[in-house]
Symmetry: C2
Subunit: 334 residues, 2 copies
Amino acid sequence: MATMDDIARSLGISKGTVSKALSGAKDVSQATRKLVLEKAVELGYQRIARSDEAPRIAIFITNMEYKKPSDFGYDLVTGFRKAAEPAGFRVEIVPITKEFQAATPYDQYMVRRNYRGALCLGISLLDPWLKDFETCRTPTVLYDNRVSGNPNVTYLAVDNDEGMALAVRRLKELGHRRIGYLSSALEAYVYRQRYQAFLRSMQDSGLPADETVCGASFHVSDCLSTHLPRLLKAGCTAIVCSHDLLAHSVIVHCTELGLSIPGDISVIGFDDIPLCRYTDPPLTTIRQDRTDLGKSAFFALSSHLNHVALSTFLLHPQLVNRASCGAPPEKAAK
Amino acid sequence: MATMDDIARSLGISKGTVSKALSGAKDVSQATRKLVLEKAVELGYQRIARSDEAPRIAIFITNMEYKKPSDFGYDLVTGFRKAAEPAGFRVEIVPITKEFQAATPYDQYMVRRNYRGALCLGISLLDPWLKDFETCRTPTVLYDNRVSGNPNVTYLAVDNDEGMALAVRRLKELGHRRIGYLSSALEAYVYRQRYQAFLRSMQDSGLPADETVCGASFHVSDCLSTHLPRLLKAGCTAIVCSHDLLAHSVIVHCTELGLSIPGDISVIGFDDIPLCRYTDPPLTTIRQDRTDLGKSAFFALSSHLNHVALSTFLLHPQLVNRASCGAPPEKAAK
């Protein structure tokens, strides 16, 4: 592991300057600080912690709510802290914007703030740091995002293939043949995954699936006004949704159209957010246990810190049967 | 958790008979024992351990050598024991044949022997227990085998996609365009995975890949006598092999044919078994760290025992550059 002396020698400057640059002192020029940080990352420098100092881990959050128990990210953060804090780590939650990412090289930030590793929640394919993760040297766990080929990065998620298979199998058992799919925008890795998984599950189940019964839009309103009528017209008797909030909107919209759920149309979600119990009717969905995912994220990170390079870490999903799925209308009428 | 009383009540027999059947006493008929074991599995019975008794875990081994440090399974077993035994588990190594599996339902065996969970090494697509794993209730980690949809089963492996991408990228960097692939029989899940991963990696790298430059056979001799000449004739300047032993055979065979490695043809293996350092020339390969995999297997199992259902657990592979890969002949001649 490189020391401040190594950085100083390598740049031909004094150790004092290196120390000041790393600690963010004001009397070092921006250019020198940049040089020092770049060299620190290149050499794999890590500040030696004082013996009374807990090693620090960051949870970076973007595009995700996490403060209230009903927020998607709450259990992830809580599960992570439940595992990390008893193990002696100090966990800091750092909301980040795209602008911040674009202005701040990831590894340099990690060295400057002395973070040993990070869990990243809510990163989309449009976030600038996604590029940094391809080559970063800091142990990093990406929830719902995959970066292939960097031994320092782990992909953590629920098994989306299995989840979609559970959803499709359930609807097939109930007698559905024409099953549609609605999704949020495919700029998120997880939604791409689920979309592909849906098509594969339909194929594996011997059911017809092509783009005529699928629709994806960034705005929920587009899903409801453009895609949903198309799917209904195509004879779909059930709709699988990429996530629960969308499924909830589909239920509300169908009800407004005078359709009964599940009498006329079955709806199934994905994630099992707290809301699912309170929709009308309560939403059948695929559960990902976010507390377990949070705990697993810490395990993956501590694995890296112990030099075991984890690539992929997937949890089993569960089908949660509530009241939004039933037999298709023809079948029910028999 | 069900007790012996529950089993007795459910079958309408005495608790004494249940106890005898579960302990394997001789004065219980084969038919009764079978009934009791089936019911025990169905109800989720687990014998309560005495306080001085370490919980037991089995490592089932088939189609794999593991006794000597040079054997493929040795580090897997050792890594697992290094993690499990300090945690208070008793690890038993149980070699199993296909005949044994066919005659012994998996869950019943686990109840009878009072195993809390198992790691399975070397299972092929032809092993009878693979069917049992689809529905088993005992926490089970399958190395190099995937069973989808059972929350009690974890798939543990190295990231084969990433491994093949590393191999193909390395050869492309060296200047190869025509790259061939040789594989052991595709009855093993891992070889199917790697074969698909090779084709995907070639595609992603913009290199031509189809079945004309690929060959798979159960017998190494078939690979050498049938497929290798075909690949050489097709102009391949490099061969990626599904595993190191096959790569070693390719090196020996090519040398016998008067070809120089890597002057005329580059060869790359997969696994990094101890032999790779001693082939002539030493074999460039994709490393899977089997000690880390063994440790990870125990983590996955203890995760299940703590009711966190792990679906997939992949480790990052590493490219190990030795001397069996170089520039293609045209390029070298320039």
